[in-house]
């Protein structure tokens, strides 16, 4: 089963179209079921003018690929796509798009939820925001640990 899964894991430095990604993920399923997705966008809240995302290349893509494998092992998937922007973005730009296709709705939705919760521990991203002409690093937050704990109830 695992070999038939369509997988598309990418780090992009340019603007991407989440709809193309969601469509491609849904289209790759041989017998249609359902496709779930989540796309995160750069916020313009609190006067953010730009967002810069840096990462450590030797770990990032490897981490994202391992995450896709973990999702495929945990859920019954036909396709899984994880696309992440790096570099400088402006408000409204998509940062991340995760899409999953499955014969079972719950598996598709849960795989998206699982990948989003695990992205920060699987890949290493640091973000800083430009506000009023000054760059500010975005701090880690406790909720990320709680997000992860949801998947290991023991």
């Amino acid at each position: 089963m695992a070999e038939a899964v369509f997988e598309d894991i990418r780090l992009l430095t340019d603007l991407f179209d989440p709809q193309e990604i969601i469509r491609a993920t849904a289209d790759r399923t041989m017998t249609k079921g359902g496709a779930a997705s989540f796309t995160g966008y750069v916020s313009s809240n609190d006067g953010v003018e730009a967002l810069e995302l840096s990462h450590y290349e030797p770990l990032t893509l490897t981490g994202m690929k391992k995450l896709a494998i973990a999702a495929r092992e945990r859920f019954d998937l036909k396709a899984i796509t994880i696309v992440h922007r790096v570099g400088r973005m402006t408000p409204g730009d998509p940062i991340v798009c995760v899409a999953a296709a499955s014969r079972h709705r719950r598996d598709a939705i849960n795989a998206v939820d699982f990948c989003m919760d695990h992205l920060k521990s699987a890949a290493w991203f640091w973000k800083r925001e430009l506000k009023h002409g000054e760059w500010h690093w975005i701090e880690p937050r406790q909720a990320d640990h709680e997000d992860l704990a949801r998947w290991n109830p023991e």
Binding site: S54, Y56, P58, L59, T62, K120, S121, W124, F125, W126, K127, R128, W137, I138, E139, P140, R141, A143, D144
Partner: protein, 80 residues
Amino acid sequence: MAVTILFLGPLRDKAGEDSRAVAAPLDWTGLIEAVGSEIARELADDRVNIACGGKVLSDKTTLNALDGDEVALLPPVSGG
């Protein structure tokens, strides 16, 4: 050749540079001495990880970087 220390995310600002080349081999004590007191304080934080040769160390004090290795200092990732 030498060992390259990479300062990532907010640590880059604190170090004032992207990377620094130091003599090989490099262990945990050598790293602490090489990075200066401000970065050394950051490294004492459990949430700051170290990768050597592209792998995150489960115990960063076991660092043993050889000639040509890249030692990446990984502060906690950003929230949101």
